[in-house]
Amino acid sequence: MMQNKSTEIIVGMFVAAGIAALFMLAMKVSNLGDFTDEAGYQVTAEFENIGGLKVRAPVTMAGVRVGRVSSINLDPTTYNAEVTINMYSQFDNIPYDTSASIYTAGLLGEQYIGLVAGAEEEFLQDGDVIDLTQPALVLEQVIGQFLYSKAEGEE
C-alpha cells in the first residue's frame, strides 16, 4: 500500500511536469499569450500591393505592436488589397490621418505593417479606413528598376 502511494505521488509529479511543459510551450514559446488582448477595434486599409503580408502579421507604431492583421481581401472594384487590422483597444488615441506602410523585418524577414502617426485631433474608430498607404516593396521590382535606370545611365 505504501509503495502504491509513492507511485501515485511520482506519477502525479510526472503529469504535472508534462502539463507545465505544455504550458511553458504555450505561454513562453508560442504567441498564445497575445490572444488575451485580442479584443479591440477594426480599421481597414487599402494597399496597391501587399507583397508577402500574411494574416496575423503584426501592426506596429514606432516599433510597438498595436494590433494584428485580421483578414486580407481583394477589393473587387479597385483590385487593391483590402487589409483589415485589429487594433488593440488600449491604443484608442491614434490620429485619423495616420499612414500605413508595409515593411519587411530585416532583409529576409516577415512583412508587417508600420503605422506613422498623423496630426489630426480626431482618433481612429471602429470601421474607419486608413487612406494614406504605401505598398510593399517587391524586391524584384526594385532590382528591375535599378537595373533599368543603370542601363539608361550608361547609354
Partner: protein
C-alpha cells in the same frame, strides 16, 4: 520463379492476417477502456512504468538535442546575420518535428520494448492464460491499462522533450554564443503559433503514442511464447514502431503543414 511468387504470396497473406489480428486486438482494447475509469489506479501504476521510467532518457536527450540545435543553428544563421532567429529555428524544429518524433522513437525503445517483453513474458509463463481461467479478461485487466498509460504519457513526454530542448538551446545560444535573450524569446513567440505549431505537435505525439503502444502490446500478446519468440517480438516492436512513427510523421506533416 513460381516459388518466389509463392513465398511472396505467403508473406502477403501472413502480413494481412497479422494486420487483421492487430485490429481486432485494438478493438478489444478500446472496448476495455471505459471500464478503466472505475479502476484508474491500474492506469496510474502503468503511467509510472511507461511514462515516469522513460523520463530520464527523454530529459537528457531533449537537453542535448536542444543544445546541438542551438550550436548548429547558430553556425548556419550567423552567416546570414540572422542569429536572432535562433529561437524560432529551435522552437519550430522541436515543437513541430523533433519533439514528437524523437521522443516517440525513444519511447518505443525504452517503454515499447519493455511492454512487449513484459507481455510476452506474461504469455510465455501462462500468466495471461491463467488470468483467463480465473475469469479475468487479460486484455481488459493487463493490456488496456498499459495502452491508456502510453496514450497519456507520450504527449507529456513529447512536451517535456520540447521544453527541455528549448531550454538547452537557450543555454547554448544565450550563455555560450551570446545571442540576445530578448530577441531569442520574442522572435520565437512571434513565429510560433499555438494552434498551428504546438497543438499540431501535441496531436502528432498523441498519434505516435497510440501507434507505438498498440504495436508494442500487440507484438507482446502475439509473440511466440518462448524466450526466442519474445526476443524477436521486442526487436519487431522497435523496428515497426520506428517505421510507423516516421511514415505517419510524413503523412501528418503533409496534412497539417502541407497547405501553407
Amino acid at each position: 520463379m513460381i516459388n518466389l511468387i509463392r513465398s511472396l504470396g505467403r508473406w502477403g497473406l501472413g502480413t494481412f492476417e497479422r494486420l487483421g489480428r492487430g485490429h481486432l486486438f485494438l478493438l478489444h482494447i478500446l472496448a476495455g477502456i471505459p471500464g478503466l475509469f472505475l479502476r484508474f489506479s491500474l492506469v496510474i501504476q502503468q503511467v509510472y512504468s511507461v511514462g515516469v521510467l522513460s523520463l530520464l532518457i527523454i530529459l537528457i536527450s531533449g537537453l542535448f538535442v536542444g543544445m546541438v540545435l542551438g550550436l548548429q543553428g547558430y553556425n548556419t544563421l550567423v552567416d546570414f546575420g540572422a542569429e536572432e532567429s535562433l529561437g524560432v529555428l529551435v522552437s519550430l524544429s522541436l515543437v513541430r518535428e523533433l519533439g514528437p518524433v524523437v521522443s516517440a522513437l525513444l519511447f518505443a525503445g525504452r517503454a515499447g520494448s519493455a511492454l512487449t517483453a513484459e507481455i510476452g513474458l506474461m504469455k510465455s509463463t501462462e500468466q495471461l492464460s491463467g488470468m483467463e481461467m480465473m475469469a479475468v479478461d487479460p486484455i481488459r485487466r493487463v493490456i488496456a491499462p498499459r495502452f491508456m498509460a502510453g496514450l497519456i504519457s507520450m504527449p507529456l513526454l513529447a512536451a517535456i522533450f520540447s521544453a527541455v530542448g528549448i531550454i538547452g538551446a537557450f543555454l547554448v545560444g544565450h550563455g555560450l554564443l551570446g545571442v540576445d535573450d530578448g530577441a531569442f524569446w520574442s522572435q520565437m513567440q512571434a513565429k510560433t503559433d499555438f494552434y498551428d505549431d504546438i497543438m499540431n505537435g501535441v496531436i502528432k505525439s498523441v498519434v505516435f503514442g497510440f501507434v507505438v503502444t498498440w504495436i508494442a502490446l500487440f507484438e507482446g500478446h502475439d509473440a511466440i511464447p518462448t524466450s526466442e519468440g519474445v526476443g524477436r517480438a521486442t526487436t519487431r516492436t522497435v523496428v515497426h514502431s520506428a517505421f510507423a512513427i516516421l511514415g505517419l510523421d510524413f503523412v501528418l506533416t503533409a496534412l497539417m503543414f502541407g497547405d501553407e
